[in-house]
């Protein structure tokens, strides 16, 4: 079935009353799930799966997929308003989104996040529609050396996320790598840095670290001064609650950057949407005329990562639907749902179950529009949440943090760790140690170590495997160039100083 014919057929399937209703239910639930830390799309889909046993496969997968990409929309809300990432992929949005809110631009930040999510989400679906089979073949060419190179590329972004002190940024990243090592080594079953605690054998949970370092730390920071009644200033007037045309124009490249990076990284099984959002943020900062403004509340710093984490969901469905390979926990549950309904994802899915495949793809276009229509009008309402008095807001945020940490595995150790990471995040803020590299190190560290060790097993210890393959060699070269940026800047600043000394008027 040709692509356009398939898509038209898909719309005829998706635009029935029941399927549009399931789409709405899915994206609505997904948005709620995204807002609340402690309730991720994977857990929600797993909880709702039994309820879908008696549903038609098309309606069921439309609803479950709606939860998956709807959560990406919701995750930005608490990132921007409370510096509390609702989803793992929303951490990068905290960097500039919350700073925009601190400057009284919470509404525009939420609006930009919604629009970026729509643009990039649409791009991801179009790319899924047109490019699924060849992109899937490209993803199959990725092996351990390529994954290692991708992780190195991600870690090299620390030079762009580090702020004023590269030394402190590198130290944060190394702490993140250490935190990622805590647990059991999967190759040898050696327990590492568990301090004799059985609960640590599974390692640390990403959300506990992220919520602690960002949200709890922000509560402590806010509590420093008795100050005003509101934690953040919220200007009045609808004009101040939506992005301006100039802000949207400034985000044009960010929309494209987020779309392309998010989709391509999403296609790679196991890469993770948080990687996509950080890479997109790093690229946006690297090409900006004013990189020093990133981290202070620039719209592009919201648009790029938000776009990436939405385009990522379209990309993640490529290996799932065309090869039957889930990219992560959520897509693994979607795979089990499809198998439960007797649909076998893979190269023959388009031919054997065209109604499910094309119906799902078409429903994502519809779901993306519903999400924009749902989220954009709610921006002024969400922004008003910041008018809650600070003495009410702080315990509410702490309560949500506790619920989020406890929900991970109903283990009190996670709540204790939350408190510890909260203090760590606060101390890091006071001492100008950037938090983003720590999160980046944690996210990438485990996968990077695994990829390197697998690569060297493949080559029997020969390191040249990392540079002899074109894709990994290219990514490693880009990583090296990125790491040389601080050296080039230092060299340029020294040359500027020497030039000023030469040109300075000589005093007699």
């Amino acid at each position: 079935m040709a692509t356009l014919d398939g898509l038209l057929y898909g719309f005829s399937v998706a635009l029935t009353f029941h399927n549009v209703l399931w789409c709405f239910v899915g994206v609505f639930l997904g948005t709620i799930v995204g807002i609340l830390p402690g309730l991720g799309p994977a857990a929600t889909i797993a909880l709702l799966l039994p309820l879908t046993f008696n549903m038609e496969p098309t309606g069921g997968i439309i609803m479950l997929a709606g939860i998956y990409y709807g959560a990406k929309y919701g995750g930005s809300t608490t990132s921007i308003l409370l510096n509390m990432p609702g989803e793992a992929s929303s951490v990068a949005t905290c960097l500039d989104g919350y700073q925009m809110a601190r400057r009284g631009r919470a509404g525009p930040a939420l609006g930009i996040a919604a629009i970026a999510s729509f643009v990039a989400g649409t791009f991801g679906i179009v790319a899924l529609t047109l490019l699924a089979p060849p992109i899937a073949a490209f993803a199959l060419s990725f092996s351990s050396p390529e994954y290692f190179a991708l992780m190195c590329l991600g870690l090299s972004l620390v030079v762009l996320l580090g702020g004023d002190s590269l030394v402190k940024a590198l130290l944060s990243m190394l702490v993140g790598l250490w935190l990622a090592s805590i647990g059991t080594d999967i190759f040898t079953a050696q327990s590492r840095f568990t301090f004799g605690t059985p609960s640590l054998l599974d390692g640390l949970d990403f959300m506990v670290i992220a919520i602690g370092v960002f949200a709890v730390a922000e509560v402590l920071s806010t509590a420093e001064s008795r100050g005003g009644t509101q934690a953040l200033h919220v200007p009045r007037g609808i004009r101040n609650l939506l992005p301006s045309w100039d802000e949207l124009k400034a985000c044009r490249f960010a929309f494209l950057n987020g779309s392309v990076v998010g989709f391509l990284v999403g296609v790679l099984p196991g890469a993770g949407s948080s990687v996509a959002s950080f890479i997109s943020y790093g690229i946006e900062k690297a090409v900006s005329r004013h990189p020093e403004r990133f981290g202070t509340g620039v719209p592009e710093g919201v648009a790029a990562p938000e776009g990436a984490n939405n385009a990522d969901s379209g990309g993640a469905l490529v290996p799932l639907l065309t090869l039957g390979i889930p990219g992560g926990g959520t897509t693994a549950i979607l795979l089990s749902a499809l198998i439960m309904w007797g649909v076998r994802p893979g190269p023959l899915m388009i031919m054997d179950s065209p109604d499910v495949f094309w119906g799902l793809v078409a429903s994502m276009y519809i779901g993306n529009v519903i999400l924009l229509l749902l989220n954009l009008p709610l921006v002024p309402l969400f922004a008003q949440l910041l008018r809650v008095p600070v003495w009410l807001l702080l315990p509410i945020v702490l309560g949500i943090c506790i619920v989020g940490a406890y929900a991970v595995s109903e283990n009190m150790l996670d709540v204790w760790l939350l408190a510890s990471f909260g203090l760590l995040g606060y101390a890091m803020g006071k001492l100008s140690f950037p938090a983003a590299p720590l999160i980046l190190g944690f996210v990438l560290g485990d996968a990077m170590e695994r990829a390197l060790r697998q690569s060297l097993m493949m080559s029997q210890g020969d390191l040249s495997i990392l540079v002899s393959r074109p894709i990994s060699a290219t990514m490693l070269a880009i990583a090296v160039l990125l790491l040389m940026i601080p050296l080039l800047q230092w060299h340029r600043s020294r040359a500027d100083v020497r030039g000023e000394e030469v040109n300075a008027p000589k005093h007699r």
Binding site: L170, F187, Q190, L220, L392, G399, I402, S432, L456
Partner: protein
């Protein structure tokens, strides 16, 4: 009274250096290389060594750079740490009194002690917040909240 950031940087560098040494010490107990490739000690030894080196660099830079003499306010730090200590106490009390009661006490401390709100108003708000959490997270979303000896 204010605290020197330079002094805090030196302490942070020392603490991170100690962490790096600990990581290196642990990593030396595991295999660095095996016939099958890098062992469990490979990565920790690498980043632990880097951590020690960079911590030393941070300490040396802080000692040599007089421009870093910014000050942190002791009273501001005191308020923040007070909240953290109370938060820690709240976590410790969770298995005893349960999440809802715990949240009420936490809200009362923040509202009355930290922000000087009237106790009656603070109590009403605290009970309302706890009830809201119970309704949203426990009943509506079906999430299990920590319970105490009283069963809630």
């Amino acid at each position: 009274m204010r605290i020197s950031v330079r002094g805090a940087d030196i302490l942070a560098g020392a603490a991170l250096g100690a962490l790096g040494l600990y990581i290196v010490q642990q990593a030396l107990r595991w295999d660095f290389m095996t016939p099958a490739g890098p062992g469990p000690g490979f990565f920790p030894l690498t980043y632990g060594s880097l951590m020690v080196a960079l911590s030393l660099l941070l300490v040396v830079r802080s000692l040599r750079n007089p421009a870093l003499e910014e000050r942190l306010s002791r009273s501001q730090l005191g308020r923040a740490l007070a909240v953290w200590v109370v938060f820690l106490a709240a976590v410790a009390l969770l298995p005893v009194i349960g999440f809802l009661l715990d949240l009420v006490l936490l809200t009362l401390f923040i509202a009355v002690v930290l922000y000087g709100q009237r106790p009656r108003v603070a109590l009403m708000a605290a009970v309302g917040i706890a009830a809201g959490f119970g309704l949203v997270f426990n009943l509506a979303l079906g999430l299990d909240l920590p319970t105490g000896v009283l069963g809630f």
